[in-house]
């Protein structure tokens, strides 16, 4: 009988969340470039083993391109347009590790396992359920946002005036967000999410070998990257 298969290379959501928070340190302190590449290889490996081949490759390619950025002194000497463009990329470079790790967390975690993991760590329901709803919210929101973009294009609303563009886009997106979150909450409530008993899990969330390996490797590369 076909069932949802557990993947031995998919770490526990808590481990992935821990890695993302740890990578957050790299926003404040830049890592050594060799350790940065080690982190990229680890992330790409986990992406690849979780059947996210496109993400595995783009992780390496994008980081490779970001590594080619000139340093701040060089950027300062360029003209204003190039400077602005390059500074956006520099900002992306600074936030790259937490973003890539967060992407891995989002793409490889299901709602049930997030709730289970948080239950195991004794997170209150008031924290775990909103985080789970948030996970489900973004894919729906992305779909609707694309429709809004399409409607704007057909209506001839261009982003020449960023202020009015933002005004136009904000109202439908806010209405949609409210509808989506209402619908998701209704779906969850009519499926007994609020039941106070101890929930069972079809795929039990447990600590696997990959959790130890992933956590140790991430601690090693972040610590190593900051020390050296």
């Amino acid at each position: 009988m076909p069932v949802f298969a557990d993947n031995p290379y998919n770490p526990n959501p808590v481990t992935k969340l821990f890695a993302t928070i740890l990578f957050g340190v790299t926003v404040l302190y830049q890592m050594n470039i060799y350790f940065e590449w080690a982190a990229i290889i680890i992330l790409s490996f986990v992406f690849y083993k979780n059947n996210l081949k496109k993400e595995a490759v783009s992780n390496i390619v994008i980081f490779g391109i970001l590594c080619l950025l000139p340093n701040i002194e060089v950027i300062e000497k360029t003209n204003i347009v190039i400077k602005m463009f390059l500074m956006v990329l520099v900002a992306y470079r600074i936030f790259y590790f937490p973003v890539a790790s967060g992407l891995l967390f989002i793409k490889t975690s299901d709602v049930g396992s997030i709730i289970s993991s948080m239950d195991a760590l004794k997170f209150p329901k008031e924290v775990s359920i909103p985080i789970a709803v948030m996970f489900r919210f973004f894919p729906s929101f992305r779909e609707d946002r694309q429709n809004v973009k399409l409607a704007m294009k057909v209506r001839g609303i261009a982003c020449r005036n960023p202020v009015s563009y933002l005004e136009y886009v904000t109202v439908p997106l806010l209405i949609m967000s409210s509808n989506i979150s209402d619908d998701i909450s209704k779906a969850a409530e009519t499926k007994c999410i609020g039941n106070p008993i101890k929930k069972s899990r079809y795929i039990p969330v447990r600590i696997k070998a990959i959790d130890y390996i992933y956590a140790v490797l991430i601690i090693a590369v972040v610590a190593g990257g900051l020390i050296w």
Binding site: M1, D144, E167, A187
Partner: protein
């Protein structure tokens, strides 16, 4: 099983949605609530599953008892252990992204052991052979597949009652047939079904009693036999759609015209399949219905035609002149299924003028007056009712004066009267220098509105991967439908498609 006594329901706006409703339902019965939009059908369903009081801020007077338990004092999860719900739009009513986990989510929340979950999954798969829907990304399913998954999830929950709120609104005829099949099997298992619907033809062999709801009250209660005696005209006047399956009476598109699609190619990123269309022609001054099963690519076709799909390749000519994507965006207008996604300005009058240069004030006034919107010209578009929003979107289309006008499912979930209103409005947009395209599953609406239809299943090039993929999917449905020998005619239809 369900005992409702003298319930009245009002929302925060103080408007009374239900007035003194009383009925009871026996175990295993199938009850249909039908009537015009806004008559209170959904409020009855939402009173039974507890969402009206707990989510929509409704105040309910009277007694609602389910399996002898008064649900007014119960928590939502306690009600959910007695009643499963299927909603109108399956798009957002999922909590998980993986289909199998969604099916198991309820069972996990009631703390069922894994062995019991396996047993329930096996039992469900025996009843509904939907193995091909397991372990998939819900966002990759068609609207029909999502709704089928919703019904399966409500069955696997094991509750004695299933309530459904207009479940066929976004489904094509083949998927409606599958829904009929599933509900018939659920009923045979002794599960009580409460369903609110406009499109009732697919329920006529399942339903036991029909309640006609009008202005928040039960106007009449019919047995199936009595209901079948009522003439279609009377039912239409009451806002109810045809009780027999409507056949498409429009003819296929002719092979001459001013707008020619010589070639249209689009590769679907998610499936690696390809949509390929060649040598299609459309006449100016005509309305075309675009039909085909859920997930066949009708909306993608519209996006390619408008020119907003970056990855598509098209060769489209108007009177011999090749049109670029930019040309087509300029000459196109679109009314989306969810009009909330296309209203941007902070007043009705600004909304209709948005993106249009040098618009005449007199013309704006005339169009708004003709659509009963002029009085609301300073209102915020988001404060309007659903029907008013749709009329506003149509007003923008009329004022943009585009040559190519597209409507995506404009009547989903609409009662008969509103469907006819939309049909009249679209026909009023018809001019000799315009072509109107309507994507719809609504056969009654297409019969009332369009000049010709284009069946996507027939015009898609058969040698493409996309079509072979679609046929493979049809095979799965065939296996499903074959299980029930009562639907032999459906098999014949599918086989003719495969040939």
């Amino acid at each position: 099983m369900v005992d409702i006594k003298n319930i009245s329901l009002s929302y925060k706006t103080n408007q009374e949605a239900l007035k003194d409703i009383s009925f009871n339902v026996k175990r295993g019965e199938c009850i249909l609530f039908t009537g015009k939009s806004g008559s209170g059908k959904s409020s009855i369903i939402n009173s039974v599953n507890g969402l009206a009081a707990r989510y929509d801020g409704a105040v309910i007077d009277g007694d609602i008892k389910i399996a002898d338990k008064d649900i007014k004092e119960m928590e939502l999860y306690e009600i959910a252990m007695l009643v499963s719900s299927v909603f109108q739009n399956p798009k957002t009513h999922f909590f998980n992204i993986n289909t199998t986990l969604e099916l198991l989510f309820y069972l996990e929340n009631i703390g069922l052991p894994k062995e019991e979950m396996d047993k329930r999954l096996e039992d469900m798969l025996e009843l509904f052979p939907i193995q091909h829907l397991l372990n998939r990304d819900i966002f990759m399913l068609s609207g029909g597949e999502k709704q089928i998954l919703c019904v399966a999830a409500s069955y696997i929950a094991g509750t004695g009652i299933i309530v459904l709120d207009e479940p066929s609104s976004n489904l094509d005829n083949d998927n409606i047939q599958v829904l009929n099949e599933m509900l018939a099997k659920v009923k045979k298992k002794g599960i009580t079904i409460l369903i609110s619907e406009h499109r009732i033809f697919y329920l006529m062999d399942i339903v036991d009693r029909i309640f006609l709801i009008q202005d928040g009250q039960i106007k009449n209660e019919y047995s199936k036999e009595d209901f079948l005696q009522i003439s279609q005209r009377i039912l239409n006047d009451l806002g109810i759609r045809d009780k027999d399956k409507t056949k498409l009476l429009v003819s296929g598109a002719r092979e001459k015209g001013d707008l020619e699609i010589k070639n249209l190619e689009f590769k679907f990123a998610a499936t690696d399949s390809k949509m390929l269309l060649k040598n299609l022609v459309f006449e100016m001054g005509k309305i075309y219905g675009i039909i085909g099963a859920n997930g066949l690519g009708k909306s993608t076709f519209i996006r390619c035609m408008i020119g907003v799909e970056r990855k598509s390749k098209e060769e489209i000519y108007l009177n011999g002149k090749k049109l670029s994507k930019r040309d087509r965006i300029k000459m196109s207008s679109l009314v989306m299924q969810d009009v909330n996604q296309q209203l941007f300005a902070d007043s009705v009058i600004k909304e209709v003028s948005l993106g249009i240069k040098d618009i005449e004030e007199g013309k704006v006034k005339k169009v708004l007056e003709s659509l009963d919107l002029y009085e609301l010209k300073d209102s915020h578009p988001m404060s309007l009712s659903g029907g008013q929003k749709q009329r506003l979107a149509i007003a923008s289309v009329i004022l943009k004066n585009s040559q190519l006008i597209f409507f995506d499912e404009p009547t989903s979930g609409m009662d008969y009267a509103n469907m006819i209103k939309i049909s009249e409005m679209i026909k009023e947009c018809k001019r000799n220098d315009k072509i109107i395209f309507i994507v719809s599953h609504d056969t009654e609406f297409l019969n009332a509105t369009v000049d010709y239809f284009v069946d996507m299943k027939k015009v898609l090039m058969l040698e493409t991967d996309y079509c072979s993929g679609y046929n493979k999917r049809s095979d799965k449905w065939l296996n499903f439908i074959q299980l029930n020998k009562d639907y032999v005619y459906l098999q014949a239809r599918f086989y003719s498609v495969l040939r």
